[in-house]
């Protein structure tokens, strides 16, 4: 690795530092000020539903979309891997098994059959 600095430029490093600052600003958005204030009741109720909504909005498009379009084929390894993964979760309540068995369905279909 003699060329590990090759192609490094200050502009890119500055942008990377800026992105790190964005991570801090978003993850700590409501931590900067410790002034006392109370969340309205409706917002407290709403937070009940935010975590599952956030994950679902990230996960579902990754399973049923391809290049920005809803997939129109059933020959897609992700569908079967996700179905097996979810079924395994509800059966055993274990995320590790979801990952391992889901990938055990995904890899042969995807790499082997090209689905």
């Amino acid at each position: 690795m003699t060329d590990w600095l090759n192609g490094t430029d200050l502009w890119t490093l500055a942008v990377i530092l800026g992105l790190a600052a964005m991570t801090v600003v978003t993850r700590c958005f409501f931590f900067f000020s410790n002034q006392e204030w109370h969340l309205p009741h409706w917002a407290q109720r709403g937070l009940q539903y935010a975590p599952i909504a956030a994950l679902s909005a990230v996960v579902i498009p990754e399973v049923v979309m391809q290049q920005g379009e809803l997939i129109s084929t059933l020959q897609d390894a992700r569908l079967y891997a996700a179905a097996v993964g979810a079924a395994v979760y509800f059966w055993h309540r274990d995320v590790l098994q979801t990952i391992v068995l889901g990938m055990a369905v995904y890899l042969p279909l995807h790499v082997g059959w090209g689905w």
Binding site: L5, P51, I52, S56, A57, M65, V111
Partner: protein, 239 residues
């Protein structure tokens, strides 16, 4: 923040790490793929390592890489990073009452370290913020153990991905392990019918609004699901 003795000596620290461990494989695969993607994009190894160690946010890294390579204006790249991370703003609102008693640097340290998986596991374990100093310390220790292991598996596997970049063909699609990890956690949250409704609405909205720039579909989906569930609560008179 795993390096504070008062936290890592607490029994909840080990519990937090143990509860993260099953998902570590998915996080590791995702980190590996992100490491490979950074190198393949043409960034220098040094830039990839700095990005891994400092940015610590897979989705914003993956969104920013093509823009950096294309030489987009810096403010566009930073705005993209902010928007892709907007869900964390909601998370920080939720976590505020759990952490706000701490000194500023500790609040920021915990906030920086807490990504999707740790946030979800934390609020699943602690439905209410602690009221006594002991409860608060236990919650902080759990969070530190949980996000410490998350950070460790993400960073080591990203660095591994940077090293192995040319040996792992992207066509294998190993990143799907990260999606399966999130899917498992998603299923674990589906504990009430209203939450299932929230997940279904957000999934549909996330797909429908996918064309929006800057991953704003995620923010739209959270808003749509939360508003709909609150409306249903009101109509049906659920407390």
């Amino acid at each position: 923040m795993f390096f504070l003795p008062s936290l890592y000596r607490h029994p909840e620290f080990a519990k937090g790490a143990r509860e993260l461990a099953p998902q570590a494989l998915g996080i590791a695969a995702w980190g590996l793929v992100t490491g490979v993607a950074m190198v393949k994009s043409g960034m220098s190894v040094f830039e990839c390592v700095v990005m891994t160690l400092l940015v610590f946010a897979g989705s914003s890294q993956l969104a920013a890489i093509p823009l950096i390579i294309a030489g987009a204006p810096a403010w566009v790249i930073l705005a993209t990073g902010f928007c892709v991370n907007l869900r964390f703003v909601v998370f920080s609102l939720h976590l505020r009452p759990y952490l706000i008693h701490l000194p500023l640097w500790r609040r920021l340290g915990h906030g920086y370290m807490t990504a999707d998986v740790s946030y979800v596991l934390f609020i699943k374990r602690f439905a209410q913020p602690g009221t006594s100093p002991q409860d608060r310390l236990a919650q902080e220790a759990y969070l530190a153990g949980n996000d410490g292991l998350n950070w460790f598996s993400w960073v080591t596997c990203s660095l591994l991905g940077i090293t192995l970049a040319n040996g792992i063909p992207p066509a294998w699609g190993l990143g799907f392990a990260g999606i399966l990890c999130l899917l498992g956690i998603l299923c674990s949250l589906a504990s009430t019918r209203m939450r299932v409704l929230s997940g279904l609405v957000a999934g549909a909205a996330g797909v429908t609004a996918y064309a929006l720039p800057l991953k704003l579909n995620i923010v739209v989906a959270i808003a749509a699901a939360v508003i709909l569930c609150l409306t249903v609560e009101r109509v049906r008179g659920v407390k």
